[in-house]
Symmetry: C2
């Protein structure tokens, strides 16, 4: 069954191997996505932190390097609710952190990235670019946009962290579900970050969705090698999505501090926190997450909190402190490898095909 | 590799299939363990809530029914620290819950079960009973006891929730590690319930331990069918341990309220809570876990808190309220099946061997 499911999904996505490079906004690059696509996997670019113009340029850069399939990932959160009082209080809470790296606290915070659901220009750009795949994270876009993508033949994916989100996505016309377990690094795709979170593990969620849904499932979270991909297929997934495995590749945009942490003992400890961006995301344990563990007040909405985090990280870097980075990583981080993206895909395929 | 690992472990445990029925103190029965052993798996009895005499009787009942291998599981927590002030405050916090079911609050709480590490009689009983396997949960017993078990040929297992616990266990002479993921139902085996918890998922933890250790690993947490067992083997485990899958079997000691909840929509929601027993444990969401979510004070030590929980559940049952039970279940609960233990093992084997 797994084999049939897998074949169907590979055909749909236009890939040779059941391997998806996770979109990772800010970390993935057109070079990474092209290397993965050229190696027979699905390359992805996360445009959650880009303008429509930058996204168009990223697609162009990908296409200069690959004729393969491309997955463009967008963030579909409810647009941020400005709350001057909360943001001022948050900046005040962050003051000692800024001071510890010799920096001034910003005077105010902005919604630094626009949600896809409120970004008509991005929608028009992606519709025109006709990537093989568009994937949704944090929720779903307007129904008319889903219909428009489907009409052009674009395959639609959505992240789900539970059965209810998966069912809502399928009912809205999404064709493939990315089952994101609690182990996963980076932003948790949960639709409502203020609602209850069942924290379902990758294997359990994958098996549950494979049993309950009638569409293909891609397993995501904590998968670092071909054995992990193989296990996901045994659970009924059609493919596996790997992010942290690609963070340390040559093509990654991860900065030196992030790479250093990933390939150190620090990889053994990750924390789900919302203090960095305003939404729950799994990060290597660092100074920022340690501060986060002491926080009881409400963090501003995503991505308003992220504005403060980026200022703090930038200031800290100037004094050689790398502990304030958004060093997203999943629980599998200790198994990360230093390879090129192409070599990583080749290794995954070899491990997957080993008896 | 997985196949070789698996074969080695099966020989060590004396079983035909890579399937371990989780010990589940209070829920497993000699009948259940014997049915599993007779079907080619490893049957287990958790004696954490038994006296030495009751454990000896359970072994006898098992052996009346099976010549197969038996796993006796013991709880190796630090013996409870009595704290009259904390316990009185806790009973006060529980007063509205008791009153809601028309019962009086107990006047005091007791350490209702003795830790194995302080139970010489249990040690002597198990040493004399010579079960094929003894498994440790919550920590490790004295080094001399480990040596004594090893000298009689008993195979020793220990639960680990992270690499540090696994390494400590192997260094102490434990031969097989049960990798318990955050998805698992019932008591989390974490050695120090007051320390940090990485909450590693089953698949990620299993893969990490299979890569890092030189002893066999048994995957536990969220596994409900043969496809899940197969996935665990692909991750390098030698076998899989299933608990929740056996809670609803005919041989289980689960009460009617527990079974009703397990086979209802309630199975979709589980909560890791320490309010029931004093240690983190995953339970079907019910009135008790909902109360737990509102608790900020310190819960008494395990198993002192459990004394209150058992009184509350007993009182609630007399008025038809089943929402105060210790209805332990893992995240895979929605996939539970109503079968006999033997039929469940047969189904698992068929699924495992399916292409």
């Amino acid at each position: 069954m797994a084999t049939l499911e897998s074949r169907h999904l590979l055909d749909l996505l236009g890939i040779e191997w059941p391997i998806v490079q996770a979109p990772m906004a800010g970390i993935s690059t057109p070079q990474m996505a092209a290397a993965v696509a050229n190696a027979g996997g699905l390359g992805s670019i996360g445009v959650g932190a880009m303008t429509a113009g930058a996204a168009a340029e990223a697609v162009r850069e990908f296409r200069e390097r690959s004729q393969g399939p491309l997955n463009i990932n967008v963030f579909c959160h409810r647009p941020a609710a400005k709350d001057g009082e909360r943001e001022a209080a948050w900046l005040e809470a962050l003051r000692p952190q800024f001071e510890s790296v010799g920096a001034d606290v910003p005077v105010s915070l902005r919604e630094i990235y626009r949600s896809f659901v409120a970004d008509e220009a991005m929608f028009a750009t992606l519709l025109a670019a006709r990537p093989r795949v568009v994937s949704f994270h944090f929720g779903l876009p307007p129904a008319a946009w889903i219909r428009a993508f489907r009409a052009t033949g674009t395959v639609l994916l959505a992240t789900a962290t539970n059965l209810a989100e998966a069912t809502a996505s399928v009912n809205a016309g999404v064709q493939v579900i990315v089952a994101q377990g609690y182990e996963a690094g980076g932003h948790r795709g949960i639709f409502d970050p203020d609602g209850p979170d069942e924290r379902l593990g990758t294997a359990t969620l994958t098996r549950l969705l494979a049993r309950r849904l009638h569409v293909p499932v891609i397993a995501a979270g904590g998968i670092m090698d071909g054995q992990g991909v193989s296990a996901a297929l045994r659970l009924g997934a059609g493919a596996a999505q790997l992010g942290t495995a690609f963070v340390g590749t040559e093509e990654s945009a991860a900065d030196d501090g992030y790479r250093t942490a990933l390939f150190s003992e620090e990889a053994n400890h990750t924390v789900m926190t919302r203090v960095i961006s305003g939404r729950p995301a799994r990060c290597l344990a660092n100074r920022f997450t340690a501060f986060g563990a002491t926080v009881t007040r409400h963090v501003p909405s995503y991505p308003i909190a992220y504005d403060a985090a980026k200022s703090l990280h930038a200031a800290a870097k100037t004094v050689g402190e790398r502990g304030y980075g958004a060093q997203w990583a999943g629980q599998g981080a200790p198994l990360a490898r230093r390879l090129s993206a192409a070599a990583l895909v080749a290794a995954l395929v070899a491990e997957l095909n080993a008896p």
